[in-house]
């Protein structure tokens, strides 16, 4: 009887205790992950959240081959830099790629559709970057910032302004590539469906943000290296204005000159003595030419889509990877003969910017997918100016900071804006800037041009020689209306060996079909329906 009662008691007791007390166990909170509240309560973790917004340009996610930011079939191939670079360079005369990956080759054949997977990756990536910036800005309203001590508050305010700069940069890339795009700022929260904004209105948004930021960010060269300052803001404004006619129909060459002048007259920047040093791992210490860079570190900041991509993908055939400070090549990127032919002496002996590898390679490209077809490029290296290899001993990941904005580009932009009739500059100064670049390239004055040589077509060619593979060729060609038209043909343009003109609607990429489906507010760009 005793035992019976004991059992009965046990059972009844257990029943009551468990039923009453366990519902609160359904409120399980993350153990490893943290919530936004804890991240944004600490100046240290706030800076780490800022590092994400910057890192969004270079990294694929929270780990190098897992935990991607974007749902991509291959983690490594989906980063902002790599996707932007591919969309800017592969459809042009500057670069071809050998890889038979998915629909990557559609960049060459120029028959991309709203379903193109690689384009969708890029589309998703640029809007991920904007979302990251929006989230950072949203979580740090003035009321929140004022709760920190004065010096922390000042720093955090700068962080927030840098996030606004990064958002402006991404929005510029977005309208440059995708035209009329979904648009949202920090004021719309998670779950809100964004509206579509015209290219013109986003242009105005980016412009106003940057005009505001130019007074708020640190002076040129005064921020930590890798973080944006006034120089970065001015450069982005200059680029926005140089291409303004494409976006808005209005010429802004004068404004372009204004901001080129601000950069140049700040005296914070000067040309690197040696062109090759700009693309080596100590590029930010060997000169003061770089205005804003996408940073890389072979040990602490690894990605298959920062400069690691650019260095590895360019190596193949009989090239020795150790000459480039890496463990191997990916056998992908070469140039078309159109770019190669821009150099009157492509050997590199006179114009040192001609950095080609020809041994075992053919000049003409019979087969896009064969690395040996087309000359290879030796411009980007994971070694220092003194020949020391990068920090990753296995040679998998590069240390090379990619120069997104540099003074050489500003000189050419100034010259072009002057030639396009902009006020505030003059042809003689423009000629001086162009010749400064050519003097550096030739090591002497033999490469100099005269005032009569300085024409718009010359500037485009010179941009090819000076800036090839630095991203931006598609934008340049569109500004000159040569990207789609039959006026200028290069090998494999439009997927034809001898090149062919293609329809003008291809000047703007389509919005990703996945987004059109998910967001009924969006209307596809013309020509893609």
């Amino acid at each position: 009887m005793n035992i019976k009662n004991l059992y009965k008691g046990m059972i009844a007791g257990a029943l009551m205790v468990s039923a009453a007390s366990c519902t609160k166990d359904l409120n399980r909170l993350p153990i490893v992950q943290v919530t936004s509240a804890s991240v944004y309560n600490n100046p240290v973790t706030i800076k780490e959240a800022l590092a994400k917004v910057y890192g969004g340009l270079a990294l694929s996610g929270q780990d190098v081959s897992t935990s991607p930011d974007i749902n991509a079939p291959d983690v490594g191939s989906n980063t902002y830099f790599r996707n932007w670079w591919e969309a800017e360079e592969l459809p042009t005369d500057e670069a071809v790629i050998a890889w038979n990956d998915g629909d990557l080759q559609q960049y060459h054949t120029m028959n991309w559709t709203p379903q193109m997977a690689y384009l969708t990756l890029w589309y998703n990536r640029v809007f991920f970057e904007i979302s990251s910036a929006n989230e950072f800005i949203r979580e740090l309203p003035d009321s929140k910032i004022s709760s920190f001590g004065a010096s922390d508050a000042a720093n955090i305010k700068t962080y927030r302004n840098e996030a606004r700069f990064l958002r402006a940069l991404a929005y510029w890339h977005a309208i440059d590539h995708f035209g009329n795009i979904p648009f949202a700022t920090e004021t719309s929260g998670v779950g809100q469906l964004p509206k579509q904004a015209s290219r013109d209105s986003v242009f105005k948004f980016v412009e106003s943000e940057l005009l505001d930021l130019q007074t708020l960010l640190p002076d040129p060269g005064q921020n930590e290296y890798g973080r944006a300052d006034k120089g970065a803001v001015w450069t982005l404004l200059a680029k926005l204005y140089l291409n303004a006619k494409v976006y808005t129909g209005q010429d802004h060459s004068t404004d372009c000159i204004t901001f080129c002048n601000k950069i140049i007259s700040s005296n914070a920047y000067s040309l690197a003595a040696n062109y090759a040093n700009l693309f080596e791992i100590d590029n930010h210490t060997t000169s003061k030419e770089i205005i804003f860079a996408i940073r890389a570190n072979g040990l602490t900041s690894q990605s298959y889509g920062n400069s690691t991509f650019l260095v590895h993908a360019a190596i193949g055939g009989s090239m020795d990877p150790s000459q480039f400070g890496v463990g191997g090549g990916w056998g992908g990127l070469r140039v078309t003969s159109a770019l190669y032919n821009l150099f009157s002496d492509p050997s590199g002996n006179t114009d040192t910017r001609a950095m080609f590898y020809t041994s075992g390679q053919t000049k003409d490209i019979a087969d896009l997918k064969n690395f040996n077809d087309g000359y290879a490029v030796t411009k980007f290296k994971n070694i220092s100016s003194t020949g020391k290899a990068g920090s990753d001993p296995s040679g998998n990941f590069a240390d090379l900071d990619f120069p997104l904005f540099r003074l050489g580009d500003i000189y050419l932009m100034y010259a072009e804006a002057v030639l396009r009739g902009g006020a505030g500059g003059d042809a003689a100064t423009a000629l001086g800037y162009v010749n400064a670049l050519r003097d550096r390239a030739y090591g002497n004055t033999t490469g100099e041009i005269t005032a009569t040589d300085l024409t718009l077509p010359f500037i485009l060619d010179e941009r090819g020689r000076e800036l090839y593979w630095e991203g931006g060729r598609r934008t340049d060609l569109i500004r000159y209306d040569l990207f789609t038209s039959g006026t200028y043909l290069w090998p494999w343009k439009g997927g034809i060996l001898n090149g062919t003109g293609v329809d003008g609607h291809l000047n703007i990429y389509p919005l990703a079909s996945t987004d059109i489906v998910a967001n009924p507010n969006l209307k596809q760009n013309p020509g893609y329906n």
Binding site: D63, S301, P393
Partner: protein
């Protein structure tokens, strides 16, 4: 103490066995007659067997028998199909017995969720497979015991690795984005999902969470298929439920000791067809560049021969069962040493299980205690070696004395290994040591108390746990080319998992003869909590530096993982039977899950089923041929909460690893990422209908069931695209889609022959099913083809399957190959199937899911001999031959990267220069029939002092496969064949001793 003595006794018995196999011959003659209890008519063909012997006799037409028995024989067993078996003590020299007719299989008690039921009272689609019908041979994981045994249950081993997991699908998958694994319940303890959302084992370091259970301890599998049976498991039941019951002691039973040893040799069945050294040489010499010709070697290496071995496996088990008064017990020990055919890999498992099932308090309290413990050591042969052996140049030697890479030949680039080239597969195996030690214990105590003052009312409490600890590590020799420049690599990981269960229910059963009704009511509460933790991992260099430039090597870090989820549920069931003809079952479960936000936390899952025992009707009494005829109709709603993320509804942030920081100035900063989330995420719901017919003829000598079902899953949890800028990633898991599954299932069992010397049983099952996606997005979208999936080897990020509305899950999505007049594929030429000038060449092709599956097994017995086989087959399943698509090209041999590769012999047929990953040429019909096992056994009867029964068996598993598929194996889950660890053929010899 007792246990020790028993063990000692077992040892003595073994010794005795080795001494001699001797029989005595002081037999005596006994005779008798067997009659039918109903009318006293003689029964012919009744088997009469002395207890403890294999040799008996059967009765003649007059029901009489005569038998010579040994003096030790105390009783005889009388059995006949359709009658209850009787054991009768031998008094004098004659024995007369009457047998009572029964529907034996119908009186079986079947385990159902939270209780048991007589088979004849079942209203749902439930199939039980017990130990005697399991697959035979060297089987290291429980899931493979029921391969091909149950209609609508497809068990596909993922490879031939020791202890490998299987993909288990009951009535197809009910989900796309969430788990499709059935819920597995062991002795009333529901287990955590056996796989993580990425398909890996939920127990780190164990190739398969179920490999931590000894199959020899399992008594039966009961599979609940339709919603009326599964709905009592509510939120985890959408993919069916498998109830595993382990072996128990028997009340009042005598001490029994069983010792078994099964020893096997596994051999590979065939090779992937690749070019021979001679063929490769000829191709390079005629088509290669000068540089490539210079790379050719002089050797003649069969790389696939190098990496595989004949692998020995032993599986030894000892079990002791018995009952001391009211304490039945079973103790078992098992040892498995399972070596893989891929060199270096093994699974060594030690397991112990204890069951105590005492009955106390005048039969009012039934206690059931189960404790299982397993300790497993694993070594994983580097799986990359399988593909490397296929790709490696056969003109190169295995070893190279001058090689700095451990003496193995490797491709070089300058003075470092060529990173793009194929690594030496044997070096990969031999210079890599990937090991783990996993401990797991599952236990429960169940108290079942019927109240003395109200015996119709039972209270049942079940408290259980499932704990595992894993530790593992991978060591890569600094000399291995794959990590040469990092100075080798060493890493370690660990994991702790804990599941807690508390379950309590009340059951009230009442027979009201006045209204010819029987009520059986159950109401209960269950609490289950799942916790797991694994610390951050680090991968370090062994030597600490790069031997080429002496630079310090790097360390990489993985992310830690720790999470917890809780389920809290109330459930109830009513079984009502009227006049023993009309059966009604209604269940309801209300579940709360911590995986969902407060607004969506609870879900209610009802079911109702009705059955009509047609054969009980008076008009059926005139048709005695029917021993069973029951019509079943059922409907129910179940849920799926296994979405892979425990906190999907919450906004949270993830820190980066140390190698994924971002640098400002000279300092690197960790990054914090806000994760995308869907605050309103909720259950997937599957509404299922089932109509079934159970039938039995000739006193159940022929029996079976036929089921039709239709399942519709809504609120399908899918990883779907998010509108840009509306969330923190481009995708989030949320509820958007709908999916349908429908099918037919047929199970037939027949006792074809049962005579004195000869018995023959046959089991056959067939199922046909179809699934279709009916919705994938909130906004109906006609332009989007759907979500691509099915990553393949070759290129970067290529996917060849798709989930599209109106198509089956994971349909192939490819280009339609154009063939020339000779029937050969034309490289790069595809049909303009969408008639849009080749802008989009993709089209939906076949599906990897089988349309029909069959299982067929047969057991013959002749005197002391037994011969059995089991086979199963799939029809209408298609496979993408990724080995051919990746390697059947000239570019697979020739590349500009300073090494030679090998190619699939398919290159000789297609003559493709470059890979054509998206050609439907590579999709093949992979219908097949596989002979799972053929076993031959001989029962020697009592051999040592008439006390020990000896049985020997010889078994061959995976005896043959009939298929048109040209790859290695037509049976691969997912339909993509890319260098799978091959399933071996296994030859086994078994010895079984019973005391």
């Amino acid at each position: 103490m007792r246990k020790k003595r028993l063990l000692a006794r077992a040892k003595v018995l073994l010794l005795l066995l080795l001494l001699c196999l001797h029989t005595f011959s002081q037999n005596r003659l006994i005779s008798g007659k067997v009659t039918d209890a109903k009318d006293g008519s003689p029964l012919q063909g009744v088997s009469v067997i002395p207890v403890g012997s294999a040799r008996g006799t059967t009765t003649n037409a007059k029901g009489e028998f005569q038998l010579s028995i040994s003096p030790a024989t105390k009783s005889l067993v009388f059995s006949s199909v359709g009658f209850t078996t009787r054991e009768v003590a031998i008094g004098g020299e004659s024995v007369s017995v009457s047998l009572v007719a029964n529907n034996s299989s119908l009186n079986e008690i079947v385990v159902i969720g939270y209780g048991t039921q007589r088979k004849k009272d079942l209203t749902g689609s439930i199939t039980t497979v017990s130990a005697k019908d399991f697959q035979q041979g060297a089987i290291s994981t429980p899931d493979q015991l029921i391969t091909g045994k149950i209609a609508g249950v497809v068990v596909t081993p993922n490879s031939g690795q020791p202890g490998v997991s299987s993909t288990i699908r009951i009535r197809g998958g009910s989900s796309i984005g969430a788990s499709n694994n059935p819920l597995i319940v062991i002795d009333g303890v529901p287990l955590e999902n056996i796989t993580n959302s990425d398909g890996t084992s939920s127990i780190s370091g164990a190739p398969n969470a179920l490999s931590m259970l000894n199959p020899n301890d399992i008594e039966s599998f009961t599979v609940l298929k339709d919603a009326s049976a599964t709905a009592i498991y509510g939120n985890r039941a959408s993919n069916g439920v498998i109830l595993i019951t382990t072996k128990k002691g028997k009340s009042g039973g005598a001490l029994r000791i069983n010792l078994s040893s099964l020893n096997s040799l596994a051999v590979k069945t065939k090779d992937v067809n690749v070019l021979s050294a001679g063929q490769l040489r000829q191709i390079v010499n005629t088509q290669g560049t000068a540089a490539q010709k210079a790379l050719l070697g002089t050797a003649n290496t069969d790389w696939q021969e190098q990496i595989y071995q004949h692998a020995f496996t032993t599986d030894d088990n000892l079990s002791i069962t018995g009952g001391v008064k009211h304490l039945p017990y079973r103790i078992s020990l098992g040892y498995l040493d399972n070596n893989g055919i891929l060199k270096t890999g093994y699974l060594r498992r030690k397991s112990a299980a204890l069951n105590l099932s005492p009955v106390l308090l005048d039969n009012h309290l039934h206690i059931d205690v189960n404790l299982k413990g397993t300790y497993a050591d694993n070594r994983f042969g580097s799986s990359g070696a399988v593909g490397e052996a296929v790709r490696m140049d056969p003109t190169q030697p295995v070893y190279d004395k001058s090689s700095p890479y451990g003496g193995y030949f490797e491709w070089q680039q300058g003075n470092i290994p060529n990173v793009l080239s194929t690594r030496n597969p044997l070096a990969d195996l031999m210079l890599t040591r990937d090991i783990s030690t996993v401990k797991r214990s599952i236990g429960n105590i169940q108290l079942d108390y019927s109240l003395p003052f109200l015996p119709e009312l039972r209270a049942n409490m079940n408290v259980g746990y499932d704990i595992s600890k894993s530790e593992g590590g991978k060591y890569i020799d600094p000399k291995y080319a794959g990590s040469y420049t990092n100075g080798g690599s060493q890493s370690a990981y660990s994991q702790y998992r804990r599941t807690k269960l508390f379950d309590f229910y009340l059951n009230y059963t009442k027979e009201l003869t006045s209204i010819r009704s029987r009520f059986d009511l159950t109401a209960g509460y269950e609490y289950e909590d799942f916790y797991r933790a694994s610390p951050a991992t680090a991968t370090r260099s062994v030597t600490g530096f790069n031997p080429v430039n002496n630079a310090p090597a790097q360390t990489t870090y993985g992310l830690p993982d720790s999470s917890q989820s809780t389920l809290l549920s109330f459930y109830g069931r009513l079984n009502y039977s009227f006049n023993d003809r009309y059966l009604l079952t209604a269940t309801v479960r209300r579940d709360g899950s911590s995986r969902f936000g407060p607004n969506n936390r609870y879900g209610t899952f009802p079911s109702i089923a009705f059955a009509w025992k047609v054969n009980q009707e008076s008009f059926m009494k005139t048709l005695p041929v029917f021993s069973d005829l029951k019509l079943r109709l059922g409907y129910g709603v179940t849920g799926n909460q296994d979405i892979g993320n425990n906190y999907g509804y919450l906004a949270n942030y993830t820190q980066s690893t140390a190698t994924t920081q971002y640098q400002f100035g000279t300092t690197s900063y960790y990054t914090y990422r806000g994760e995308a989330y869907a605050a309103n995420i909720q259950w997937e719901q599957t509404a299922a209908y089932d109509a079934g017919l159970d039938f039995g003829f000739f006193k159940q000598r022929l029996s079976g069931s036929l089921d039709f079902y239709y399942k519709k899953t809504s609120h399908l949890l899918l990883d779907v695209n998010q509108p840009s800028l509306s969330n923190l990633s481009n995708h989030v898991i949320t509820n958007v889609g709908d999916l349908e599954n429908r099918g037919v299932e047929l199970n037939i069992n027949a006792l074809a022959v049962t005579s004195k010397d000869f018995t023959w049983n046959v089991g056959f099952n067939f199922s046909y099913y179809k699934n279709k996606i009916t919705k994938l997005s909130l906004v109906i979208d006609t332009t989007s083809p759907g979500y691509q999936t099915g990553a393949i080897g070759g290129g970067t990020g290529n996917q060849i399957q798709i989930n599209s509305v109106n198509y089956p899950v994971n349909s192939f999505y490819l280009y339609k190959q154009v063939y020339d007049q000779k029937g050969l594929p034309v490289e790069g030429v595809y049909a303009d199937v969408n008639k849009n000038n080749g802008k989009n060449l993709f089209y939906h092709y076949k599906s990897p899911n089988p349309a029909a599956t069959i299982g067929f097994s047969s057991q013959f017995g002749y005197r002391s001999w037994s011969l059995a086989f089991a086979m199963h087959g799939n029809f209408g399943n298609y496979m993408y031959n990724n080995v051919k698509s990746n390697l059947g090209t000239f570019s697979s041999i020739s590349n500009p990267n300073n090494y030679i590769g090998n190619a699939s012999t398919d290159y000789l047929h297609s003559n493709f220069q470059n890979a054509q990953y998206f050609s439907d040429y590579y999709v093949e019909n992979a219908s097949f029939v596989r002979m799972d096992n053929i076993s031959l056994g001989y029962n020697f009867g009592k051999v040592i002092q008439k006390k020990i029964n000896l049985r020997l068996s010889a078994i061959v598993q995976n005896a043959f496969v009939i298929t048109k598929y040209t790859g290695l194996d037509p049976e691969i889950p997912g339909g993509i064949d890319n260098n799978i660890y091959p399933k071996p053929r296994i030859w086994s010899l078994g010895v079984n001793l019973d005391y």
